[in-house]
Amino acid sequence: MAKIHIPTPLRQYTGKLAAVDVKAGSVADALAGLVAQHPDLRRHLYTEDGKLRAFVNVYLNDEDVRYLQKEATAVKDGDTISIVPSIAGGC
């Protein structure tokens, strides 16, 4: 199983769970498994055409999956996936 860490704002859609375990072979599988367990998460993670929202960063362990094989990145038991909305702004 891989563990997906849920950021504070999205825990209202996971029954307050801070982490969700999923069985997955890839990042795409893992996120699909997460959304299958907690369907209300879908619109917060994906656009209407099914793409991950631009401000949603997904990290496998300590690496941004954009710089690996994106959602096709392989996941193995014991891996940690973090969903990290971006933090930016300015005056």
């Binding site: 950021p7 504070t8 300590d62 990290v84 971006s86 933090i87 930016a88 005056c91």
Partner: protein, 144 residues
């Protein structure tokens, strides 16, 4: 409401003075009480990756956030908000701040740093249920 100790409050403001005339940024960790108040139990300084325009933009490297989130989790803390400075600009959220804010239900603390000295510090809760209806709402800051 955001509750913060004098030590953490001073740290947030000092960070803005140290990076002036550039924006500082960091993360607030802690918990939420039964009434919904966010209680800061630690702060984490972050680097500003917007080296192209650090005087009026900030961005936290998600990799740094993943690390800080993990370290907080090991101490039993959650991410409850963020802070940044506005060098020589009001301690009010800007359209850029709102457009780039995505942590609904968290606090966004802004300190005006005027001429290198921390001036007003305000906090805003990012309210709403999704991107389409998000809004900043003024929130009280209790220092004590």
């Amino acid at each position: 409401m955001l509750k913060v100790t004098p030590t953490h409050y001073a740290e947030i403001r000092r960070h803005g003075e140290e990076t002036y005339p550039h924006e500082c940024c960091g993360i607030l960790l802690g918990s939420t009480d039964e009434l919904g108040a966010r209680i800061v139990t630690s702060t984490a300084r972050c680097g500003n990756t917007r080296t192209d325009s650090p005087q009026n933009r900030y961005n936290i490297d998600p990799k740094e956030l993943v690390r800080i989130q993990r370290e907080g989790r090991e101490r039993g803390e959650d991410i409850i908000g963020f802070y940044h400075s506005h060098p020589d600009h009001p301690a009010q959220w800007s359209p850029t701040d709102l457009a780039e804010a995505h942590w609904l239900g968290c606090s966004y603390v802004i300190t005006r740093v005027a001429g290198g000295k921390a001036d007003v510090t305000n906090s805003f809760e990012l309210t709403g249920t999704e991107e389409a209806d998000k809004a900043f709402r003024n929130e009280a800051v209790e220092v004590g």
